[in-house]
Amino acid sequence: MDYAIETQGLRKRFGEKTAVSDLTLTVRQGEVFGFLGPNGAGKTTSIKMLLALVKPSAGTAQVLGAPVGNLEARSRIGFLPEHFRFHDWLTARELLRFHGRLYHIPAARLLSRIEELLVRVDLQDAGDLRLREYSKGMLQRIGLAQALLNQPQLVFLDEPTSGLDPLGRLLVRDIIRDLRREGTAVFLNSHLLGEVEVSCDRVAFVKKGVVVREMALQEKQNTMELELKLGQVAPEILAGLLQFGKNPSIRNGHVRVQVTDENSIPEIACWLVQQGVKIYQLSMVKQSLEALFLEIMGEDERPG
């Protein structure tokens, strides 16, 4: 299978500090891939390595079938950095024309592409304003247009909704949806887990510079969590729940267990009654990405 991104043991050290210790992941062609992790986990350094902004200390990476930094592959990549910065003395049209020239897009095609993108990011009326006159949200949108100029096969979006109001976020979500429909792979780094949950096909969780889990969001949707308020819960009861589901645990005085089949619910209730355990409450909880994130990162990653 051809991957948009394929990395193996990518590592980056800055002096004594290891920013990324093992980045091993794959992103498929045409999928929207969420890259999640707490601050300082090495997400931005990872993106920079994939874009040849930072030279890896070890490991290998292929982007669009070519080694990282390959010029031909770069002509098929778009990038919106976190906190997009620009030459603010340019107008939006001039900025897009300049970046289009760097992509070697023929002049006639570039002009029509610029107009198309200005409409797409809802800036057609502000195209001749200098960027220093733009609001933060407008700048983020023109940055997005810049990343899409070359109709890329792979787009890196680093916090694309940063600084956007709810309507702006909706616009970004629509653009990501359109990109997926057009077969463009999107590598999305976002702190807004709700956005990721809505937009992404698969996600990777990175913790202390290591990809600790890579999963399809469909997989998460198939996993339900049963929450039980019980009387006395002996350790053998928790262990016994393993026959019905995964990861039984006690959180906030409630017992939780992950199940994949609704039929497990009456079986669990029946078994608990047989064990003499009193059931006060029983409910199904759909696991949010946020809950999954906290579970994977663990309590030690929570500030405060």
Binding site: A52, E72, I77, P81, F84, R85, W89, F98
Partner: protein, 278 residues
């Protein structure tokens, strides 16, 4: 369009948009107006009131022209160092560079394009200023300094060398540190050049060698001294009566060294910029 041409075009566009070219034009015209006015009255003075000999008149006019060129040379040095001092380090610091170097363009093209853009600004500035001075002295004083075809390119080489140092420093240092470094090196060359002249005049070989070594470290001042030497009438050169008539005349080897120096510094800048983390 090639990446480096796009970058050169953007650099010129930036200079225009940020009023750099405008400021250069207005202040350049102010400088030329002042010079022309002063030259007009001095020229009238040496023609009529004192009844000077043609040689004496030539000495005075040549001195005034050299004073003008000296000021232009100083302004050229400032322009060469200050206009590009922020171009790489500033864009690295702000993050602007990230969207540029991820395009299908080599980093070397980005740096070379910027270098070319600033070099063109330098050429425009030098042409405007020296052209203005030469036009004024030709029209008013019917005087043309000798060896302009050698002197002005030497001044351009001096500016090119400092411009290249300024861009190269930006690939490694912050804007302020870069500015301090390039002006510090220029100061070293400047005082070294004077040490060489004074040492030669007094026959003190140690001082002279210190000056020569400093000229090898940064050959900018030697280029100006050679340019000044060539653009004066032979009588002025040989009398060594003014600060523009060096006693120790830089050799043509120093020009070759300055050209090699500039190419090597540019090569180091390209290597630094291509390899550094952004």
């Amino acid at each position: 369009m090639y990446g480096w041409l796009t970058m050169a075009h953007l650099t010129l566009h930036e200079a225009r948009q940020r009023k750099v070219l405008f400021a250069m034009l207005i202040l350049g015209l102010a400088f030329l107006s002042l010079f022309t006015t002063g030259f007009y009255f001095i020229s009238r003075n040496v023609q009529t009131e004192h009844g000077m000999s043609p040689q004496g008149r030539q000495l005075v006019l040549s001195n005034v022209v050299m004073a003008g060129f000296y000021a232009v040379n100083f302004l050229l040095v400032m322009t060469a160092v200050l206009t590009p001092v922020d171009t790489i380090s500033g864009e690295i610091g702000s993050g602007v560079i990230q969207t540029l170097v991820t395009k299908p363009v080599r980093r070397s093209e980005i740096l070379l394009g910027k270098w070319l853009g600033y070099w063109m600004i330098l050429v425009i500035y030098l042409t405007l200023m020296t052209g203005g001075i030469l036009l004024a002295v030709r029209v008013i004083g019917k005087f043309t300094p000798p060896d302009l075809k050698i002197g002005i390119p030497l001044m351009l080489l001096e500016g090119t060398l400092l411009l290249t140092l300024s861009i190269a420093g930006g690939t490694r240092l912050s804007t302020i540190a870069n500015g301090v470094m390039v002006f510090g090196l220029y100061g070293l060359a400047f005082i070294g050049g004077w040490m060489e002249q004074i040492g030669t005049l007094l026959g003190n070989s140690t001082t002279r060698y210190i000056g020569i070594i400093s000229s090898l470290v940064v050959p900018s001042e030697s280029l100006w001294q050679l340019a000044a030497y060539r653009m004066q009438p032979p009588l002025m050169r040989d009398l060594h009566l003014t600060p523009f008539s060096p006693v120790s005349i830089p050799s043509s080897n120093m020009v070759v060294w300055a050209a090699i120096y500039t190419i090597v510094v540019l090569g180091v800048a390209l290597r630094q910029f291509s390899q550094r983390n952004l």
